[in-house]
Symmetry: C2
Subunit: 257 residues, 2 copies
Protein backbone atom coordinates (compact mmCIF):
# COMPACT_ATOMS: atom_id res chain seq x y z
CA UNK A 1 0.00 0.00 0.00
CA UNK A 2 1.32 3.43 -0.91
CA UNK A 3 1.84 6.31 1.54
CA UNK A 4 -1.36 8.23 2.23
CA UNK A 5 -2.26 10.93 -0.26
CA UNK A 6 -4.15 14.09 0.40
CA UNK A 7 -6.59 16.42 -1.30
CA UNK A 8 -6.50 20.20 -1.12
CA UNK A 9 -9.37 22.11 -2.73
CA UNK A 10 -7.78 25.40 -3.67
CA UNK A 11 -9.30 28.73 -4.71
CA UNK A 12 -7.44 30.88 -7.25
CA UNK A 13 -9.61 33.94 -6.79
CA UNK A 14 -11.32 35.52 -9.78
CA UNK A 15 -8.41 37.11 -11.57
CA UNK A 16 -4.67 37.45 -11.58
CA UNK A 17 -1.91 36.25 -9.28
CA UNK A 18 -2.24 39.25 -6.93
CA UNK A 19 -5.38 37.70 -5.43
CA UNK A 20 -4.04 34.14 -4.98
CA UNK A 21 -3.32 33.61 -1.28
CA UNK A 22 0.12 32.38 -0.15
CA UNK A 23 -1.62 29.26 1.20
CA UNK A 24 -3.09 28.51 -2.23
CA UNK A 25 0.26 29.09 -3.98
CA UNK A 26 2.01 26.84 -1.50
CA UNK A 27 -0.52 24.03 -1.90
CA UNK A 28 -0.31 24.23 -5.70
CA UNK A 29 3.50 24.27 -5.70
CA UNK A 30 3.65 21.23 -3.42
CA UNK A 31 1.08 19.06 -5.19
CA UNK A 32 2.11 16.05 -7.24
CA UNK A 33 -1.08 16.41 -9.28
CA UNK A 34 -3.24 19.34 -10.31
CA UNK A 35 -6.87 18.67 -11.21
CA UNK A 36 -9.19 21.31 -12.66
CA UNK A 37 -11.14 22.92 -15.44
CA UNK A 38 -8.66 23.57 -18.26
CA UNK A 39 -8.75 27.43 -18.29
CA UNK A 40 -7.95 27.55 -14.55
CA UNK A 41 -5.00 25.19 -14.89
CA UNK A 42 -3.72 27.37 -17.72
CA UNK A 43 -3.42 30.27 -15.27
CA UNK A 44 -0.75 28.35 -13.36
CA UNK A 45 2.93 28.11 -14.39
CA UNK A 46 4.05 24.60 -15.42
CA UNK A 47 6.18 22.72 -12.90
CA UNK A 48 8.51 19.85 -13.65
CA UNK A 49 7.31 16.50 -12.33
CA UNK A 50 3.80 17.74 -11.61
CA UNK A 51 0.96 16.03 -13.50
CA UNK A 52 -2.04 17.98 -14.78
CA UNK A 53 -5.51 16.50 -15.18
CA UNK A 54 -7.75 18.83 -17.17
CA UNK A 55 -11.48 18.52 -17.54
CA UNK A 56 -14.43 20.35 -19.05
CA UNK A 57 -16.58 22.61 -16.89
CA UNK A 58 -19.71 20.44 -16.87
CA UNK A 59 -18.25 17.37 -15.24
CA UNK A 60 -17.77 18.48 -11.65
CA UNK A 61 -18.72 15.25 -9.93
CA UNK A 62 -16.53 13.27 -12.29
CA UNK A 63 -13.63 15.67 -11.63
CA UNK A 64 -14.15 15.34 -7.88
CA UNK A 65 -14.14 11.53 -8.06
CA UNK A 66 -11.04 11.58 -10.26
CA UNK A 67 -9.25 13.69 -7.63
CA UNK A 68 -10.33 11.32 -4.84
CA UNK A 69 -9.08 8.28 -6.76
CA UNK A 70 -5.69 9.95 -7.28
CA UNK A 71 -5.49 10.48 -3.51
CA UNK A 72 -6.21 6.78 -2.99
CA UNK A 73 -3.10 6.13 -5.09
CA UNK A 74 -1.05 8.19 -2.65
CA UNK A 75 -0.94 11.39 -4.71
CA UNK A 76 -0.91 14.88 -3.21
CA UNK A 77 -3.66 16.50 -5.22
CA UNK A 78 -4.54 20.18 -5.56
CA UNK A 79 -8.02 20.51 -7.06
CA UNK A 80 -8.08 24.08 -8.33
CA UNK A 81 -11.19 26.21 -8.58
CA UNK A 82 -11.80 29.78 -9.67
CA UNK A 83 -12.90 32.22 -6.95
CA UNK A 84 -13.55 30.61 -3.58
CA UNK A 85 -14.02 26.83 -3.91
CA UNK A 86 -16.57 27.04 -1.08
CA UNK A 87 -18.88 29.51 -2.89
CA UNK A 88 -20.77 28.04 -5.86
CA UNK A 89 -17.70 26.03 -6.80
CA UNK A 90 -15.87 22.71 -6.48
CA UNK A 91 -15.77 22.12 -2.71
CA UNK A 92 -19.43 21.10 -2.45
CA UNK A 93 -18.99 18.67 -5.35
CA UNK A 94 -16.08 16.99 -3.57
CA UNK A 95 -18.00 16.51 -0.33
CA UNK A 96 -20.98 15.22 -2.29
CA UNK A 97 -18.67 12.71 -4.02
CA UNK A 98 -17.27 11.69 -0.63
CA UNK A 99 -20.72 11.19 0.87
CA UNK A 100 -21.95 9.16 -2.10
CA UNK A 101 -18.68 7.31 -2.67
CA UNK A 102 -16.76 4.49 -1.09
CA UNK A 103 -16.78 4.44 2.74
CA UNK A 104 -12.97 4.77 2.78
CA UNK A 105 -13.20 8.18 1.13
CA UNK A 106 -14.44 9.66 4.42
CA UNK A 107 -11.01 9.00 5.92
CA UNK A 108 -9.15 10.89 3.18
CA UNK A 109 -7.07 13.86 4.33
CA UNK A 110 -9.04 16.66 2.64
CA UNK A 111 -9.06 20.39 3.31
CA UNK A 112 -10.34 23.53 1.62
CA UNK A 113 -8.23 26.64 1.01
CA UNK A 114 -10.49 29.68 0.60
CA UNK A 115 -10.15 32.29 -2.15
CA UNK A 116 -11.55 35.67 -3.14
CA UNK A 117 -14.99 35.09 -4.66
CA UNK A 118 -16.32 36.99 -7.69
CA UNK A 119 -18.74 39.08 -5.62
CA UNK A 120 -15.90 40.36 -3.44
CA UNK A 121 -13.82 41.36 -6.44
CA UNK A 122 -16.82 43.08 -8.03
CA UNK A 123 -17.56 44.89 -4.77
CA UNK A 124 -13.93 46.00 -4.34
CA UNK A 125 -13.88 47.49 -7.84
CA UNK A 126 -16.97 49.61 -7.27
CA UNK A 127 -16.76 50.68 -3.63
CA UNK A 128 -18.52 48.68 -0.91
CA UNK A 129 -21.90 47.51 -2.20
CA UNK A 130 -21.72 44.40 0.06
CA UNK A 131 -21.05 46.58 3.11
CA UNK A 132 -24.18 45.36 4.86
CA UNK A 133 -26.56 42.35 4.93
CA UNK A 134 -26.54 40.54 1.60
CA UNK A 135 -27.51 37.32 -0.17
CA UNK A 136 -25.64 35.35 -2.80
CA UNK A 137 -27.93 33.55 -5.24
CA UNK A 138 -27.07 31.35 -8.22
CA UNK A 139 -29.54 31.59 -11.10
CA UNK A 140 -28.54 28.13 -12.27
CA UNK A 141 -31.64 25.96 -12.26
CA UNK A 142 -30.02 22.66 -13.15
CA UNK A 143 -30.53 21.11 -9.75
CA UNK A 144 -33.17 23.38 -8.29
CA UNK A 145 -36.50 24.42 -9.77
CA UNK A 146 -36.74 27.95 -11.17
CA UNK A 147 -39.62 28.53 -8.74
CA UNK A 148 -37.12 28.25 -5.86
CA UNK A 149 -34.85 30.82 -7.53
CA UNK A 150 -37.87 33.12 -7.79
CA UNK A 151 -38.82 32.51 -4.16
CA UNK A 152 -35.31 33.35 -2.97
CA UNK A 153 -35.05 36.48 -5.12
CA UNK A 154 -38.43 37.66 -3.82
CA UNK A 155 -37.47 36.95 -0.20
CA UNK A 156 -34.16 38.79 -0.60
CA UNK A 157 -35.88 41.78 -2.21
CA UNK A 158 -38.71 41.94 0.32
CA UNK A 159 -36.33 41.76 3.31
CA UNK A 160 -34.16 44.41 1.60
CA UNK A 161 -30.91 42.46 1.31
CA UNK A 162 -28.24 43.45 -1.18
CA UNK A 163 -28.26 40.61 -3.75
CA UNK A 164 -25.17 39.15 -5.43
CA UNK A 165 -26.21 37.14 -8.48
CA UNK A 166 -23.99 34.27 -9.69
CA UNK A 167 -24.46 32.30 -12.92
CA UNK A 168 -26.70 34.95 -14.51
CA UNK A 169 -26.69 33.29 -17.92
CA UNK A 170 -25.56 30.23 -19.76
CA UNK A 171 -25.56 29.23 -23.38
CA UNK A 172 -28.47 26.94 -22.67
CA UNK A 173 -30.49 29.49 -20.66
CA UNK A 174 -29.51 33.02 -21.71
CA UNK A 175 -32.72 34.62 -20.49
CA UNK A 176 -32.76 33.76 -16.79
CA UNK A 177 -31.11 37.05 -15.76
CA UNK A 178 -33.77 38.85 -17.79
CA UNK A 179 -36.47 37.03 -15.85
CA UNK A 180 -34.72 37.73 -12.53
CA UNK A 181 -34.43 41.46 -13.24
CA UNK A 182 -38.08 41.59 -14.31
CA UNK A 183 -39.05 39.99 -10.99
CA UNK A 184 -36.90 42.40 -8.97
CA UNK A 185 -38.34 45.41 -10.85
CA UNK A 186 -41.73 44.46 -9.47
CA UNK A 187 -40.44 44.46 -5.88
CA UNK A 188 -37.77 47.16 -5.63
CA UNK A 189 -37.40 50.85 -6.49
CA UNK A 190 -36.49 51.64 -10.10
CA UNK A 191 -33.56 53.73 -8.82
CA UNK A 192 -31.92 50.78 -7.02
CA UNK A 193 -28.22 50.66 -8.01
CA UNK A 194 -27.16 47.60 -10.03
CA UNK A 195 -23.51 46.66 -10.71
CA UNK A 196 -22.57 44.52 -13.72
CA UNK A 197 -19.03 43.26 -13.20
CA UNK A 198 -17.59 41.20 -16.01
CA UNK A 199 -14.29 39.27 -15.87
CA UNK A 200 -13.04 41.17 -12.80
CA UNK A 201 -9.27 40.93 -12.43
CA UNK A 202 -8.81 39.74 -16.00
CA UNK A 203 -7.60 41.69 -19.04
CA UNK A 204 -11.11 42.13 -20.38
CA UNK A 205 -12.58 43.39 -17.10
CA UNK A 206 -15.61 45.62 -17.56
CA UNK A 207 -17.67 47.31 -14.84
CA UNK A 208 -20.96 49.04 -15.45
CA UNK A 209 -23.12 50.81 -12.89
CA UNK A 210 -26.80 50.96 -13.72
CA UNK A 211 -30.12 51.21 -11.97
CA UNK A 212 -32.77 48.53 -11.83
CA UNK A 213 -34.71 50.58 -14.42
CA UNK A 214 -31.77 50.91 -16.82
CA UNK A 215 -30.21 47.47 -16.24
CA UNK A 216 -29.76 45.71 -19.56
CA UNK A 217 -29.76 41.97 -18.98
CA UNK A 218 -28.05 41.46 -22.33
CA UNK A 219 -24.87 42.75 -20.63
CA UNK A 220 -24.68 39.61 -18.50
CA UNK A 221 -22.83 36.61 -19.83
CA UNK A 222 -21.44 33.61 -17.97
CA UNK A 223 -18.45 35.69 -16.76
CA UNK A 224 -20.61 38.38 -15.19
CA UNK A 225 -21.37 38.91 -11.51
CA UNK A 226 -24.29 41.22 -10.74
CA UNK A 227 -24.92 43.10 -7.50
CA UNK A 228 -28.38 44.56 -6.91
CA UNK A 229 -28.45 47.11 -4.09
CA UNK A 230 -30.72 47.35 -1.06
CA UNK A 231 -32.89 50.42 -0.43
CA UNK A 232 -29.93 51.85 1.49
CA UNK A 233 -27.29 51.33 -1.21
CA UNK A 234 -25.93 54.67 -2.35
CA UNK A 235 -24.17 55.99 -5.44
CA UNK A 236 -21.58 58.78 -5.05
CA UNK A 237 -21.25 60.65 -8.35
CA UNK A 238 -17.75 61.84 -9.27
CA UNK A 239 -16.49 64.24 -11.91
CA UNK A 240 -14.79 62.41 -14.77
CA UNK A 241 -14.72 59.08 -12.96
CA UNK A 242 -16.91 56.06 -12.31
CA UNK A 243 -19.19 56.66 -9.32
CA UNK A 244 -18.65 54.81 -6.05
CA UNK A 245 -21.38 52.42 -4.86
CA UNK A 246 -21.68 51.47 -1.20
CA UNK A 247 -24.11 50.13 1.36
CA UNK A 248 -23.77 51.72 4.80
CA UNK A 249 -23.16 49.35 7.68
CA UNK A 250 -23.85 49.28 11.39
CA UNK A 251 -21.33 51.34 13.30
CA UNK A 252 -19.35 49.17 15.75
CA UNK A 253 -17.31 46.26 14.38
CA UNK A 254 -17.92 43.83 17.22
CA UNK A 255 -16.18 40.99 15.44
CA UNK A 256 -13.46 43.26 14.26
CA UNK A 257 -15.10 43.13 10.80
CA UNK B 1 0.66 71.70 -2.65
CA UNK B 2 2.06 68.24 -2.00
CA UNK B 3 2.02 65.38 -4.51
CA UNK B 4 -1.30 63.53 -4.51
CA UNK B 5 -1.75 60.86 -1.91
CA UNK B 6 -3.82 57.74 -2.17
CA UNK B 7 -5.93 55.48 0.00
CA UNK B 8 -5.98 51.71 -0.19
CA UNK B 9 -8.51 49.87 1.99
CA UNK B 10 -6.85 46.54 2.59
CA UNK B 11 -8.21 43.24 3.91
CA UNK B 12 -5.93 41.05 6.03
CA UNK B 13 -8.25 38.04 6.04
CA UNK B 14 -9.36 36.49 9.32
CA UNK B 15 -6.19 34.81 10.47
CA UNK B 16 -2.54 34.37 9.72
CA UNK B 17 -0.28 35.52 6.92
CA UNK B 18 -1.14 32.54 4.69
CA UNK B 19 -4.48 34.17 3.84
CA UNK B 20 -3.17 37.70 3.14
CA UNK B 21 -3.18 38.22 -0.63
CA UNK B 22 -0.02 39.37 -2.44
CA UNK B 23 -1.91 42.53 -3.41
CA UNK B 24 -2.64 43.32 0.24
CA UNK B 25 0.97 42.63 1.27
CA UNK B 26 2.25 44.85 -1.53
CA UNK B 27 -0.06 47.72 -0.61
CA UNK B 28 0.90 47.50 3.06
CA UNK B 29 4.62 47.36 2.28
CA UNK B 30 4.39 50.41 0.02
CA UNK B 31 2.29 52.62 2.26
CA UNK B 32 3.80 55.59 4.06
CA UNK B 33 1.08 55.31 6.71
CA UNK B 34 -0.92 52.44 8.15
CA UNK B 35 -4.26 53.20 9.77
CA UNK B 36 -6.31 50.63 11.67
CA UNK B 37 -7.71 49.07 14.78
CA UNK B 38 -4.71 48.33 17.04
CA UNK B 39 -4.91 44.47 17.09
CA UNK B 40 -4.89 44.36 13.27
CA UNK B 41 -1.86 46.62 13.00
CA UNK B 42 -0.10 44.41 15.53
CA UNK B 43 -0.39 41.51 13.07
CA UNK B 44 1.91 43.36 10.65
CA UNK B 45 5.72 43.49 10.92
CA UNK B 46 7.11 46.96 11.70
CA UNK B 47 8.73 48.79 8.79
CA UNK B 48 11.24 51.60 9.04
CA UNK B 49 9.90 54.99 8.01
CA UNK B 50 6.28 53.84 8.02
CA UNK B 51 3.94 55.62 10.41
CA UNK B 52 1.21 53.76 12.30
CA UNK B 53 -2.07 55.32 13.38
CA UNK B 54 -3.91 53.05 15.79
CA UNK B 55 -7.49 53.46 16.93
CA UNK B 56 -10.13 51.69 18.98
CA UNK B 57 -12.73 49.51 17.30
CA UNK B 58 -15.75 51.75 17.91
CA UNK B 59 -14.57 54.79 16.00
CA UNK B 60 -14.86 53.67 12.40
CA UNK B 61 -16.04 56.95 10.90
CA UNK B 62 -13.36 58.85 12.78
CA UNK B 63 -10.72 56.39 11.56
CA UNK B 64 -11.98 56.74 7.97
CA UNK B 65 -11.82 60.54 8.14
CA UNK B 66 -8.35 60.41 9.66
CA UNK B 67 -7.18 58.26 6.74
CA UNK B 68 -8.73 60.67 4.21
CA UNK B 69 -7.04 63.67 5.83
CA UNK B 70 -3.67 61.91 5.65
CA UNK B 71 -4.25 61.36 1.94
CA UNK B 72 -4.95 65.09 1.56
CA UNK B 73 -1.48 65.66 2.98
CA UNK B 74 -0.01 63.55 0.20
CA UNK B 75 0.43 60.35 2.19
CA UNK B 76 0.06 56.86 0.72
CA UNK B 77 -2.28 55.32 3.25
CA UNK B 78 -3.17 51.65 3.78
CA UNK B 79 -6.27 51.42 5.94
CA UNK B 80 -6.18 47.86 7.21
CA UNK B 81 -9.22 45.81 8.09
CA UNK B 82 -9.72 42.26 9.29
CA UNK B 83 -11.39 39.86 6.86
CA UNK B 84 -12.67 41.48 3.66
CA UNK B 85 -12.97 45.27 4.09
CA UNK B 86 -16.03 45.13 1.83
CA UNK B 87 -17.99 42.72 4.07
CA UNK B 88 -19.21 44.24 7.37
CA UNK B 89 -15.95 46.16 7.66
CA UNK B 90 -14.13 49.42 6.96
CA UNK B 91 -14.77 50.03 3.26
CA UNK B 92 -18.39 51.14 3.73
CA UNK B 93 -17.31 53.55 6.49
CA UNK B 94 -14.78 55.17 4.15
CA UNK B 95 -17.30 55.70 1.37
CA UNK B 96 -19.79 57.05 3.87
CA UNK B 97 -17.12 59.49 5.09
CA UNK B 98 -16.40 60.50 1.48
CA UNK B 99 -20.07 61.09 0.72
CA UNK B 100 -20.63 63.14 3.88
CA UNK B 101 -17.25 64.90 3.77
CA UNK B 102 -15.60 67.68 1.82
CA UNK B 103 -16.40 67.73 -1.91
CA UNK B 104 -12.69 67.30 -2.73
CA UNK B 105 -12.66 63.90 -1.05
CA UNK B 106 -14.59 62.46 -4.01
CA UNK B 107 -11.51 63.03 -6.18
CA UNK B 108 -9.19 61.08 -3.88
CA UNK B 109 -7.46 58.07 -5.40
CA UNK B 110 -9.13 55.33 -3.36
CA UNK B 111 -9.38 51.59 -4.00
CA UNK B 112 -10.38 48.49 -2.08
CA UNK B 113 -8.28 45.32 -1.91
CA UNK B 114 -10.49 42.34 -1.05
CA UNK B 115 -9.68 39.72 1.58
CA UNK B 116 -10.93 36.38 2.86
CA UNK B 117 -13.97 37.04 5.04
CA UNK B 118 -14.71 35.18 8.28
CA UNK B 119 -17.55 33.15 6.75
CA UNK B 120 -15.25 31.80 4.04
CA UNK B 121 -12.63 30.74 6.56
CA UNK B 122 -15.30 29.10 8.73
CA UNK B 123 -16.72 27.31 5.68
CA UNK B 124 -13.29 26.11 4.54
CA UNK B 125 -12.57 24.62 7.95
CA UNK B 126 -15.77 22.56 8.05
CA UNK B 127 -16.33 21.50 4.43
CA UNK B 128 -18.55 23.55 2.12
CA UNK B 129 -21.58 24.81 4.06
CA UNK B 130 -21.76 27.91 1.79
CA UNK B 131 -21.79 25.73 -1.32
CA UNK B 132 -25.16 27.04 -2.41
CA UNK B 133 -27.43 30.10 -2.00
CA UNK B 134 -26.69 31.91 1.26
CA UNK B 135 -27.21 35.14 3.17
CA UNK B 136 -24.78 37.07 5.36
CA UNK B 137 -26.48 38.92 8.22
CA UNK B 138 -25.00 41.08 10.95
CA UNK B 139 -26.83 40.88 14.27
CA UNK B 140 -25.53 44.32 15.20
CA UNK B 141 -28.50 46.57 15.81
CA UNK B 142 -26.65 49.80 16.35
CA UNK B 143 -27.78 51.39 13.12
CA UNK B 144 -30.74 49.20 12.22
CA UNK B 145 -33.73 48.24 14.36
CA UNK B 146 -33.76 44.70 15.78
CA UNK B 147 -37.09 44.21 13.98
CA UNK B 148 -35.22 44.44 10.65
CA UNK B 149 -32.72 41.82 11.84
CA UNK B 150 -35.69 39.59 12.71
CA UNK B 151 -37.35 40.23 9.35
CA UNK B 152 -34.16 39.31 7.48
CA UNK B 153 -33.56 36.16 9.55
CA UNK B 154 -37.16 35.07 8.95
CA UNK B 155 -36.94 35.77 5.20
CA UNK B 156 -33.66 33.86 4.94
CA UNK B 157 -35.10 30.91 6.88
CA UNK B 158 -38.38 30.82 4.96
CA UNK B 159 -36.65 30.94 1.56
CA UNK B 160 -34.26 28.23 2.81
CA UNK B 161 -30.97 30.09 2.42
CA UNK B 162 -27.88 29.03 4.33
CA UNK B 163 -27.30 31.87 6.83
CA UNK B 164 -23.89 33.25 7.85
CA UNK B 165 -24.25 35.27 11.05
CA UNK B 166 -21.75 38.08 11.77
CA UNK B 167 -21.50 40.04 15.03
CA UNK B 168 -23.45 37.46 17.04
CA UNK B 169 -22.69 39.10 20.37
CA UNK B 170 -21.13 42.10 21.96
CA UNK B 171 -20.35 43.08 25.50
CA UNK B 172 -23.30 45.46 25.41
CA UNK B 173 -25.76 42.97 23.85
CA UNK B 174 -24.67 39.40 24.66
CA UNK B 175 -28.13 37.91 24.14
CA UNK B 176 -28.89 38.79 20.53
CA UNK B 177 -27.56 35.45 19.17
CA UNK B 178 -29.80 33.72 21.71
CA UNK B 179 -32.79 35.61 20.33
CA UNK B 180 -31.77 34.89 16.74
CA UNK B 181 -31.44 31.15 17.38
CA UNK B 182 -34.80 31.11 19.16
CA UNK B 183 -36.38 32.75 16.12
CA UNK B 184 -34.74 30.28 13.70
CA UNK B 185 -35.85 27.31 15.84
CA UNK B 186 -39.43 28.34 15.17
CA UNK B 187 -38.89 28.33 11.40
CA UNK B 188 -36.40 25.56 10.61
CA UNK B 189 -35.96 21.86 11.39
CA UNK B 190 -34.37 21.04 14.75
CA UNK B 191 -31.81 18.87 12.92
CA UNK B 192 -30.48 21.79 10.81
CA UNK B 193 -26.65 21.81 11.04
CA UNK B 194 -25.13 24.84 12.80
CA UNK B 195 -21.41 25.68 12.72
CA UNK B 196 -19.82 27.79 15.45
CA UNK B 197 -16.41 28.97 14.22
CA UNK B 198 -14.39 30.96 16.69
CA UNK B 199 -11.14 32.81 15.88
CA UNK B 200 -10.58 30.89 12.64
CA UNK B 201 -6.97 31.02 11.51
CA UNK B 202 -5.75 32.19 14.91
CA UNK B 203 -4.00 30.20 17.64
CA UNK B 204 -7.18 29.86 19.67
CA UNK B 205 -9.33 28.63 16.75
CA UNK B 206 -12.25 26.48 17.82
CA UNK B 207 -14.86 24.87 15.59
CA UNK B 208 -18.01 23.22 16.85
CA UNK B 209 -20.68 21.50 14.78
CA UNK B 210 -24.12 21.47 16.35
CA UNK B 211 -27.74 21.30 15.30
CA UNK B 212 -30.30 24.05 15.70
CA UNK B 213 -31.72 22.04 18.61
CA UNK B 214 -28.37 21.62 20.38
CA UNK B 215 -26.85 25.01 19.49
CA UNK B 216 -25.69 26.76 22.64
CA UNK B 217 -25.72 30.50 22.06
CA UNK B 218 -23.35 30.96 24.98
CA UNK B 219 -20.63 29.58 22.68
CA UNK B 220 -20.78 32.74 20.56
CA UNK B 221 -18.62 35.68 21.48
CA UNK B 222 -17.54 38.63 19.37
CA UNK B 223 -14.92 36.50 17.59
CA UNK B 224 -17.43 33.85 16.50
CA UNK B 225 -18.94 33.37 13.04
CA UNK B 226 -22.01 31.14 12.88
CA UNK B 227 -23.34 29.29 9.85
CA UNK B 228 -26.89 27.91 9.97
CA UNK B 229 -27.58 25.38 7.22
CA UNK B 230 -30.42 25.21 4.72
CA UNK B 231 -32.75 22.20 4.54
CA UNK B 232 -30.28 20.69 2.06
CA UNK B 233 -27.14 21.14 4.18
CA UNK B 234 -25.67 17.76 5.04
CA UNK B 235 -23.34 16.38 7.71
CA UNK B 236 -20.97 13.52 6.83
CA UNK B 237 -20.03 11.62 10.00
CA UNK B 238 -16.45 10.34 10.20
CA UNK B 239 -14.75 7.91 12.54
CA UNK B 240 -12.48 9.69 15.00
CA UNK B 241 -12.66 13.02 13.19
CA UNK B 242 -14.86 16.10 12.99
CA UNK B 243 -17.71 15.57 10.52
CA UNK B 244 -17.80 17.42 7.20
CA UNK B 245 -20.65 19.88 6.58
CA UNK B 246 -21.67 20.84 3.05
CA UNK B 247 -24.52 22.25 1.03
CA UNK B 248 -24.91 20.65 -2.41
CA UNK B 249 -24.81 23.03 -5.36
CA UNK B 250 -26.25 23.13 -8.84
CA UNK B 251 -24.19 21.03 -11.19
CA UNK B 252 -22.66 23.15 -13.98
CA UNK B 253 -20.34 26.03 -13.03
CA UNK B 254 -21.42 28.47 -15.72
CA UNK B 255 -19.33 31.28 -14.31
CA UNK B 256 -16.50 28.96 -13.58
CA UNK B 257 -17.42 29.20 -9.89
Amino acid sequence: MSAPGRLRIVGLGPGGAAWITPEASHLIANATDLVGYAPYLERLPPKQGQTRHQSGNRVEMERARHALRLVEDGRHVALVSCGDPGVFAMAAAVFEAIEEGEPGWRDIDVAVSPGISAMQAAAARTGAPLGHDFCAISLSDNRKPWSLVEQRLAAAATADFVIAVYNPASTARPRRIHDAIALLRGLKAASTPVVFARAVGRDDEHISIETLASADSARADMSTLIIVGSSETRVIPRVGATPFVYTPRGRPPDDGG
